[in-house]
């Protein structure tokens, strides 16, 4: 009785409840395959009351839904809100029709030993499962809760089926040989695509020196053609090449260290990938930023001017702060950083220059030390040595007195000054803020944040200059991975925007700002006070777990022991010193290779081979390849 799903379906039309004959009746389609059992079940469910009212201990309640293996949702009601709760229950019941039952439980009649704030309870059909009491904010959360439950169940069932299948097929059951490195797998899957590398010069031991002397500036990517991370970077690099095509004075090139190991070690390249920028007569600069197309392009473009660039006149200095000078960089909207020094402050100036060479490529840095330096700096009410920070095209210029003269301090300070007060957190910029090692007060927003939120948050951030936290926001549209974060915190995406306090570095608690309260500086501050006082309960806590090996390795030592008796630990001088360095294997995964020979024999129709000579030729591997294809979990390759 295999149903043909495409040609027939069954719906239950709820015309009995229809109040207005002009309106079409509601209907509920049967979601399962059209089998006798399913039809019976569906009809039974449709016949059950939409909302059951209960006045007893929910543990004892049983309805047709539970009997049919579906969950039952209790809406916890009070006398005062009965009408509203009843409407909510009915609304939810319609949504869940056929998937779960809905009951209205009156708290006044039953003595429930649960949180007063709880408004929903969930009872699952499994025997012995405790009832979950929850505080939910809207009806969608209820629906999600039920649907996710059933999905999880579905998945588990699927997995079980799969596992059974695997057992039957005698396939590796612990998946050790399935790639779980996202970068390696992505690069493998992309290997057949031809990369547009025409713009990138291939350098070899023979032409390396001569090529460097041909261009003003040569960017060299050192990579290894077998190494996934460097191949991933090569892909971004090819995008950079397309992006920078036609930029004068910059030559993009690459060296495959698998072909030219001598050249790579001579250039001090010990790991892949490495990008260096060579300029005639100068020491090469090693790129130390994000391996992304934008970041790399910007680095290369910024590297074209010296860092810091010496400004000769007051006009140039002003133009520089506005972002108009030097012209090569006018298209780049970076903050302009200008060091102003009087002729007497050479120590600070040298440190600044040194800092410039460290920050080269990442930051626009200028330097002015003409006679009228004092006049320039006083315009921004500081006196040399000082830093001037020109943001947004010079519309706001901030003056900062330079007090520390060590290079390290200066680099640190410049980095710090360039951080935004209320930044939008993105994947590339998060590390800069992580380095502050402070908790995050972060507003997750579905898109751009509103004027009001922005204003209030900025006030909050600015109001406390030595603040103990990073105030920031995240645009889920621009940084969709934020959904993943929210899902980890709350299982479902809460209503947005949502303001969170995340203790990233100490304790890992996540607190959620009450959604009913408007996001204002005052509210946030009082909430933060409550947080500090320990009056709030964290919504979630970040996992403290160490990053352990995702899967066990082949235990060759164990496999070897039977055939190499002299290896057994008894002959080892320290018996009992054998480590338990292999994590426990999944049941049945023991001796995965040890009985490989037997397995192999079975799959080959029991050729009488000596034990310990597994399929060693193409014939031996052929059935496996086929099995893999069937699994469809691995890229196909020979």
């Amino acid at each position: 009785d295999d149903p043909d799903v495409s040609s027939a379906w069954l719906s239950f039309w709820h015309c009995q409840q229809a109040t207005d004959p002009a309106q079409p009746c509601r209907r509920t389609a049967l979601a399962q395959p059209l089998t006798l059992l399913n039809v019976h079940r569906h009809l039974k469910l449709m016949g059950a009351p939409l909302v059951t009212e209960v006045a007893e201990d929910p543990e004892k309640v049983s309805t047709v839904h539970l009997q049919l293996g579906l969950p039952l949702v209790f809406i916890l009601s009070q006398k005062e809100t009965y009408e509203a709760d009843r409407r909510t229950a009915e609304f939810v019941a319609w949504q869940l029709l056929g998937k779960a039952g809905v009951a209205l439980l009156s708290r006044d009649l039953v003595d429930l030993n649960v949180l007063h704030r709880s408004n929903v309870a969930l009872k699952t059909p499994e025997e012995g499962m405790p009832i979950q009491y929850l505080v939910l904010e809207d009806t969608d959360e209820v629906i999600t809760l039920v649907e996710d439950k059933s999905k999880v169940k579905q998945i588990q069932e699927d997995e079980q089926e799969e596992e059974e299948e695997e057992d039957e097929d005698e396939i590796e059951n612990n998946n050790q040989d399935i790639q779980d490195d996202q970068v390696v797998e992505a690069v493998s899957r992309d290997k057949k695509r031809e990369l547009p590398l025409e713009q990138i010069l291939v350098l070899t031991e023979e032409n390396f020196r001569s090529s460097l002397s041909e261009a003003v500036r040569t960017v060299v990517l050192f990579y290894a053609s077998w190494e996934a991370v460097s191949l991933a970077v090569l892909r971004s690099y090819s995008e950079v090449a397309a992006h920078l095509k036609g930029t004068p004075g910059v030559l993009l090139s690459r060296v495959n260290c698998w072909d030219w190991p001598g050249l790579c070690s001579q250039e001090n390249v010990t790991q892949f990938p490495t990008i260096k920028i060579y300029k005639e007569g100068q020491q090469s600069v090693t790129y130390d930023g994000m391996w992304g197309t934008e970041e790399l392009s910007s680095f290369i473009l910024l590297s074209r001017v010296s860092c810091p660039v010496k400004l000769a006149t007051m006009d140039e200095a002003e133009g520089y702060l506005r972002g108009e000078f030097p012209p090569e960089l006018s298209s780049h909207h970076h903050t302009s950083l200008l060091g102003v020094f009087s002729t007497a402050t050479s120590e600070a100036r040298e440190a600044f220059e040194e800092a410039g060479s460290i920050l080269s490529g990442h930051i626009r840095m200028g330097m002015y030390f003409e006679d009228d330096a004092l006049a320039l700096s006083q315009k921004y009410s500081v006196s040399p040595p000082a830093l001037l920070l020109g943001r947004s095209g010079g519309r706001s210029v901030e003056g900062i007195a330079l007090s520390k003269h060590s290079v390290q301090d200066m680099v640190q300070m410049i980095r710090y000054e360039l951080l935004d007060i209320f930044p939008e957190i993105t994947v590339p910029n998060l590390p800069q803020y992580l380095q502050l090692r402070k908790p995050f007060l972060i507003l997750f927003s579905a898109g751009d944040i509103s004027q009001m939120e922005s204003r209030e948050m900025l006030k909050l951030a600015k109001g406390r200059p030595q603040q103990a936290f990073v105030a920031c926001w995240l645009n889920l549209k621009k940084t969709p991975v934020g959904h993943g974060i929210l899902r980890m915190y709350f299982s479902t995406t809460p209503s947005l925007p949502v303001l969170l306090w995340v203790n990233l570095h100490a304790g890992g608690q996540v607190f959620k700002f009450p959604s009913e309260e408007p996001i204002t500086e005052m509210n946030i501050l009082s909430w933060l006070e409550k947080l500090q006082a320990g009056l709030e309960i964290p919504s979630s806590t970040l996992s403290e777990e160490d990053w352990k090996p995702p899967l066990p390795a082949y235990d060759f030592l164990q496999m070897m022991e039977p055939s190499v008796p002299e290896l057994s630990p008894q002959t080892s001088p320290h018996p009992g010193d054998t480590p338990e360095q292999h994590p426990p294997k999944s049941p049945g995964g023991d001796a995965a290779g040890g009985d490989g020979a037997i397995r192999e024999e079975a799959s080959q129709g029991s050729t009488a081979e000596e034990v310990g000579s597994p399929g060693r030729d193409l014939r031996g591997t052929a059935p496996r390849l086929a099995a893999r294809d069937k699994q469809g979990r691995r890229h196909s390759e020979l």
Binding site: T270, Q435, P480, V481, A553, R616
Partner: protein, 675 residues
Amino acid sequence: LGLALYAGSLCAVSGATFVYHDYCVIGAGPAGLQAAYFLQQAGRDYIVFERSHAPGSFFALYPRHRKLISINKQYTGKSNSEFNLRHDWNSLLSHDRRLLFRRYSRDFFPNADTMVRYLEDFASLLKLRVQYNTAIIHVTLEENEQAWNGHYFLLTDQDRKNYKCSSLLVAAGMWVPNVVNFPGSEYVEGYETVSINPEDFAGQTVLILGRGNSAFETAENILGVTNFIHMVSRSRVRLSWATHYVGDLRAINNGLLDTYQLKSLDGLLEGDLEDLAIVKDKKGKLHITLRFYLENRNISAGIDSITLPQDELDNFATRAPYDRVIRCLGWKFDFSIYNRSLRMVPGKGNIKKYPQIKPSYESRGTRGLFVLGTASHSVDFRKSAGGFIHGFRYTTRAVHRLLENRHHGVPWPSTVYPITQLTNSIIKRVNEASGLYQMFSVLADIILLRENATAFEYLEEYPIGVLAELEMQTGRKARNGLFVIIMEYGRNFSGADKDVFYYNRAVGEAQHAWQSNFLHPVIYYYKHLPTEREMRLRPPDWPLPRPDAIHHIVEDFLTDWTAPNAHILPLRRFLENCLSTDLRSFFAESCFLFAFTHQKLPPFCQQGYVRMQGLVGSQELRHHAVQAGLLQDYTHTDFSGDRPPDSHDGSQEQLMRDHAIPVHPLQHLVNAKDE
């Protein structure tokens, strides 16, 4: 430092005049020149003594038929210079690319004259300090507490000139012919002097004593013109392609095996040469008999009075008389020049032709005396390549590094890497390193882990025989465990009597890698440096004691171990499990997610992304990762109506599965507060 003042200067000690050098090298053959190169590069005070007027005097004579059996591969399809050295068995190591043997000869098996020319160029282009026409005829010790090793080495040459050194490197090679004495051995011609002109053998019947490459090389030369050749030796023939030892009979010389097995009159016999006797008849023909028959007889009494085996056994195999008997029994080390105080004694058993040395190549009898080159082959005789140029060029470098550490405080060269580079650094080396490949099971790369396994130190080509002494010998610390990377053949694959072409001889699957037969990388993991005792008690035929864990990278037909799933993935899992960490690489987006959802980050994110070197990845790559279920795509998440995302599917959680927040947030609420 005081010693340096004497450098190269004459000084009078106990009446005699000495020229002093820190290092004296005996012999300007390949090993002596190789040692000289490293000493020169390090700026050390050294001198090489060569008895001849030019380097490589052995090669000026030998092999007699002038064909070297070391391969000189012109092409490998690769430009990797280190990899290509795996298939260049004649070049010495240097920075000068002109000194690659393929620039000297296009022959796969080059002529020995080319080797002589090459060695001359090596010495002159690199301006090595070689004193020619100086035969060291005596070496003795002078006790001195100030000396590096408690004594100086005093050397005397043929003109009674004296030299004094702190360290003596013996690279004199093996040039004393092995001679067997039996009645009638005076009729035997030596390989050293026998004619190499085939015409001299026309119509003759020849007996060759020995079964090595020189014996077969000699036979090969005259195979076509003799009546027949018989070859006699104690042991069965050892074919190099069965034993995987380059010193055994090579296919290029084995024509006689063909004619023997195809019954073209030539033949092989087994027998102890000590039992042999040769009798010359009146016509000058040589008859084989047994020493046994000669007892109480006088050979000079004439052939008629001597019993020949065929008198009793009329089908005795070598009953036919021979025109010539040629001895091709190889060479031994010249022990004669060393004073007894140096205790330069022969090894035991089948290595008695070599002087006794430790696995560090230092003499067992005398501290500060190192044996290099062919004479040092006792360490890996019949196993690896230490007796040949392509092997000892690396062991010589290892000895140099030991000396640099011991005498000059220069620790063994090493590179420190972050732990994220662990898999890569191993893959790079096993794919290109020539020293590991040639000196398999003898030289090993060592990875010393730093505290908390966040970084490691990589040392190349250390002699594993002295693994227990690693800290003392290298000046590096091994406190937090180590990996030892070597290459091995399968345990029961090699041997003179083994069938190396049996069906199913090659393993293809990573999970059976430990049964690999052909040369493949093996990684041993030790939590603590093995002790001397553990090294001594290691299983027989094992290069190392039982490790805490072991990994075999499955043998590869192309010797290219870069396959992501078959080679790199199992290696990564092994390393992860040894270190108890997660060594996967992640795109920046994953690190971003982890940074917000985990208090700790995997090493790749910690050492990359957090330091602002995250791997952003191109659109296509991220798309592939999503397709593979290893990265979740949130871009299509519909959040306009606060709706939960629908794109939830099972496989995407693979990454997060083990690392999910342990306390379900909603449960947390319930449990925390009971009102």
